[in-house]
């Protein structure tokens, strides 16, 4: 990584430069409406040559860790290798240059791709219908809960006001239920990391619209009583929502639609390895049973005779984003499924689960395991090192940076104290995992020897631990010359 300070692009600029080559105007000009002009002449925009822009963004790119340089065992995020053919595929002319509103007869290739992806995602998950429209996992969740609401309303069932959410759930689950106006009812987990059935029974009621559950759950474990959980919720008239964040563990292993889920979202940017992009774009495609299919977002790609066209479900909740979804991500996911096939997908999940269990087995004597059983695609450990009571999970995470490894997810799930959630994914090599294991053991030994080593970490990152309190108390959310000058004037800053 690049450890040199790179000034904000505004400081590299000088008036009179330009970074693009544009044509001259070849038509007669028309006067601009004077009363609508902007009040300045865009004076705050920086001016740079193409050379400078490329160098600046290349230099700051080198201040990132990424999958292509580093093991990135970030639990719940499935940071697997992003195949290079996907990047070529999404940039093919028919995919990159097609207008979303051009007629279907000019869009047969892209509609066919969407139709096939809908079909294949349905097959992999055991669902009858799929919509590719939601832009990210959280939007898939919102789509699902809107569908639940519409389904109950369509049956004249207006008494359902609550959504059950386990205490281990991703924050998006309760936030989503609240956005749709549901009351969130939290369900406890038991000591084996499953939904606590006794607690569930006390929380289920005629008010239950549904339950949101991640399976494998956020402790990295398969819910051992999943069929009973689904049956209980169904018996009360509720619906089961599957958060697909952990779908990478069960491709060809089990289909959510066959254990009782009614609806789920796929994080195409996790399981189907469309790149995370530093935080997006994602794609939160959704699948559901035939009973819920009429409520899916409109439109979807349909096969009509020998050609493809748009169709709308009969009782659709409507549109959840403009146009049809993050199509570029769909091209990548389609390519991935077609290159791996059914056997390859099962191999993905088997290997992901093998890798996680291998790490768990090799680290269990150094870091307590949250729940002592075989994990699925990720293992949740506790950052509690014997004989090092002053060390916390954050210290372990930051020390990993010094060894050139991206930290795992930390402090999630909330029900595990000092959680370290490790997801190696199927694409990590044994060589790298063995190194990770050795580093984690070394860190435990360092902690026992001198806790300060961990408290001081990282010392080899691009920067050291940052002052998050200052960032929040005195927010600087945009470049201004004055604020940066004041920062430069403080002691300790080196601009060269």
């Amino acid at each position: 990584m690049n450890n040199s300070y790179e000034p904000p692009i505004f400081e590299l600029a000088a008036p009179g430069r330009i970074g693009v080559s544009l044509p001259e105007c070849d038509v007669p000009t028309t006067a601009l409406p004077a009363h609508l002009l902007r009040s300045d002449e865009l004076n705050e925009l920086p001016e740079l040559s193409e050379t400078e822009v490329i160098r600046h963004f290349t230099r700051i790119s080198q201040r990132n860790m990424c999958i292509d340089t580093t093991m990135y065992p970030l639990g719940s995020c499935t940071m697997k290798y992003n195949p290079k053919i996907h990047e070529e595929a999404a940039r093919m002319p028919g995919f990159a240059n097609a207008h979303p509103l051009q007629p279907a007869y000019l869009s047969q290739g892209v509609l066919r791709l969407m139709y096939e992806l809908q079909r294949d995602l349905g097959e992999i998950s055991g669902f009858d219908a799929v919509s590719l429209q939601p832009a990210a996992g959280a939007q898939g969740e919102l789509t699902g809960i809107l569908v639940f609401k519409a389904y109950h309303a369509d049956r004249g069932d207006h008494a359902r006001t609550e959504i059950l959410v386990p205490d281990a759930a991703h924050g998006t689950n309760p936030a989503t239920a609240a956005m749709v106006g549901y009351k969130v009812v939290e369900v406890k987990s038991d000591e084996r990391g499953n939904v606590d059935i006794a607690d569930l029974k006390t929380k289920i009621s005629p008010r239950t619209a549904g339950m949101m559950l991640t399976n494998p759950n956020t402790v990295g474990l398969f819910e051992e009583q999943i069929e009973e959980v689904c049956a209980l919720v169904h018996a009360a008239g509720g619906l089961m929502y599957g958060d697909g964040a952990n779908f990478n563990a069960i491709l060809g292993i089990v289909k959510p639609g066959q254990v009782g889920f009614d609806f789920m979202h796929y994080n195409l940017h996790k399981t189907f390895t469309t790149p995370h992009g530093g935080g997006g774009p994602g794609s939160g495609a959704v699948g559901c049973t035939a009973a819920l299919a009429p409520f899916l977002p409109a439109p979807y790609a349909a096969k009509v005779g020998d050609s493809y066209d748009w169709q709308a479900p009969a009782k659709s909740i409507g549109q959840v984003k403009a146009f049809w979804g993050n199509f570029g991500m769909l091209v990548r996911a389609w390519t991935y499924i077609r290159m791996l096939g059914g056997f390859g997908l099962r191999e993905v999940s088997e290997t992901a689960v093998l890798n996680a269990n291998y790490i768990q087995a090799q680290l269990r004597d150094y870091y307590p395991v949250a729940v002592d059983r075989f994990c699925m695609h990720e293992t949740v450990l506790k950052g509690q090192i014997a004989g090092a009571s002053g060390v916390r999970t954050v210290d372990i995470a930051k020390r990993l940076i010094d060894y050139g490894i991206h930290p795992p997810t930390v402090y999630f799930p909330l029900i595990v104290p000092e959680a370290l959630m490790i997801e190696p994914t199927e694409t990590e090599s044994k060589f790298n995992m063995d190194r990770f294991i050795a580093v984690m053991r070394t860190i435990a030994a360092e902690a026992q020897q001198d806790e300060e080593i961990l408290h001081q970490a990282p010392t080899k990152g691009v920067v050291r631990r940052v002052d998050e309190v200052r960032a929040a108390r005195q927010p600087v959310l945009r470049y201004t010359k004055e604020v940066f000058a004041a920062f430069y004037a403080e002691p300790g800053h080196h601009t060269v």
Binding site: P28, R63, H99, Q258, W324, E347, Q360
Partner: protein, 445 residues
């Protein structure tokens, strides 16, 4: 074994031994046996040369700017994307990184987002921009929610029928369970003046798109003033290219400025991924949805960027968060930041000028054709409405044969606009393309 997986058969055996099981199926015993290991009925796996052939076939079955002249816009625009933009997006340090939760190893992504936020503030004149939403439509929905969160007792949002029909649908879909009423577009012919009659002491926000769906630019200052007089927030849904020349959300006195960021260096991509731009005033910073990056220092006093004001977000605040948004469109925000940096002040103004003049040249030429009439809705930027002598779908079929993707058929969304075509022209449509389009229309009377 797939070429993405490194574990050999020998290593697998070694690892199983370390775990203490004989075979891999032993790891899946928690799964009900009746449904374990289902067959997946999927097409046969393809090698890379085979998948390339298949992808090429699908690509070749799809038209676009590579095969046709594009006069279709309606919310997605064929603007120039400099080669340098994609070269930066292809850096795996950016595209294979996750959300920058660990600032010590994510300074690249954090600085890029900080610069994106700063460039959006420079473009709009607003104080704060967030790190992005999914697209322009969802940015508008989040603006509505924010307005209701700011003005606790008001639950009405006023929009106009001249807002993009998709945006209006998305706002309605996403707000269905929120107890927020969306009004103003019931009459598809309502003017902005008529829409403003609906503003009252229950109104949390007025949200107006300008240039609107028909391409028309409105002077929003009086509308913003009237909105404020009623105690509501004003949301200007702007066009980022038009802003190079025309009124900004700050100029009109908006409280929130949102936009579809696709014209800023992002290709058409059959509708996505695009970029939702969200900007607002300083005093509302704690009410914003989504990620925000700020400047701070590390323990050695070195300058550093970090995600901040995190207490608004779902992973911390759960059901009390400002939104459920987690993943956003970070890589698209990077595209916009690189695009704006390359363009700079001069380049962006030149793109806007070329677009404006090309669009007006096209409108003038079409207006001279027998049978066609350019509808005068007032000043426009890159789109205008043409009343045609035949159904638009029929014209578009013929235009396609002449190598042209024609404009949007407004009759699909507005019953009173049957046979009306919404034509978009950008700097990418040079004079000869425009002349060909005009002469093709002339031949189709």
């Amino acid at each position: 074994m797939s070429h993405y997986i490194s574990i050999t058969a020998g290593e697998r055996a070694e690892m199983l031994k370390a775990i203490g099981v004989d075979n891999i199926t032993a790891l899946f015993e928690a799964i009900p046996s009746a449904v374990r290991f289902p067959p997946l009925n999927l097409p046969k796996a393809l090698s890379e040369p085979e998948i390339r052939r298949e992808l090429t076939r699908l690509s070749n079955q799809t038209a676009g700017t590579h095969s046709h002249s594009m006069f279709l816009g309606a919310g997605a625009y064929n603007h120039f994307v400099p080669s340098a933009v994609d070269q930066i997006l292809r850096r795996s340090e950016f595209y294979t990184a996750y959300t920058p939760y660990q600032p010590e190893v994510s300074q690249g992504t954090l600085q890029a987002i900080f610069e994106y936020q700063s460039l959006m503030c420079a473009l709009t004149g607003m104080d704060v921009a967030n790190a992005s939403h999914y697209d322009g439509a969802t940015a508008l929905a989040e603006a509505a929610v924010m307005a209701v969160n700011v003005l606790r007792n008001r639950r009405k949002i006023v929009i106009s029928p001249s807002m993009h029909p998709h945006y209006r649908r998305v706002i309605r879909t996403l707000l269905v369970g929120s107890g927020i009423d969306v009004v103003g577009d019931e009459n598809p012919q309502a003017t902005l003046g008529e829409v403003m009659q609906l503003v009252d002491n229950q109104t949390a926000a007025v949200m107006i798109q300008s240039p609107d769906f028909f391409g028309t630019m409105h002077d929003l200052k009086a509308i913003a003033d009237a909105t404020h007089a009623a105690g509501a927030l004003f949301v200007h849904h702007f066009d980022p290219i038009a802003l190079a020349l025309f009124q900004t959300p700050n100029d009109v006195g908006a409280d929130i400025g949102t936009a579809e960021g696709q014209p800023l260096g992002i290709g058409l991509n059959f509708g996505g991924p695009y970029l939702g731009i969200f900007t607002t005033r300083k005093q509302f910073v704690h009410k914003i949805a989504g990620r925000i990056v700020g400047l701070t220092r590390d323990v050695d006093n070195a300058m550093a960027y970090v995600m901040t004001l995190r207490a608004r977000e779902q992973d911390i605040r759960r059901e009390r968060a400002t939104s459920n948004i987690c993943t956003n469109q970070a890589l698209m925000a990077l595209a916009a930041a690189v695009y704006m940096s390359l363009m700079g002040r001069q380049g962006l103004r030149q793109v806007a000028n070329l677009t404006y003049h090309h669009a007006h040249y096209a409108a003038t030429q079409i207006g001279q054709l027998n049978g066609y009439q350019v509808i005068d809705h007032g000043p426009f930027f890159r789109e205008f409405v043409v009343k045609c002598p035949k159904p638009v779908a029929q014209l578009n079929r013929s235009l396609a044969e002449a190598g042209i993707i024609g404009g949007y058929d407004l009759g699909q969304d507005y019953a009173h606009m049957t046979n009306h075509m919404l034509v978009a022209v950008t700097e990418m449509n040079d004079r000869s393309e425009i002349d060909h389009f005009v002469s093709s229309l002339a031949g189709l009377r």
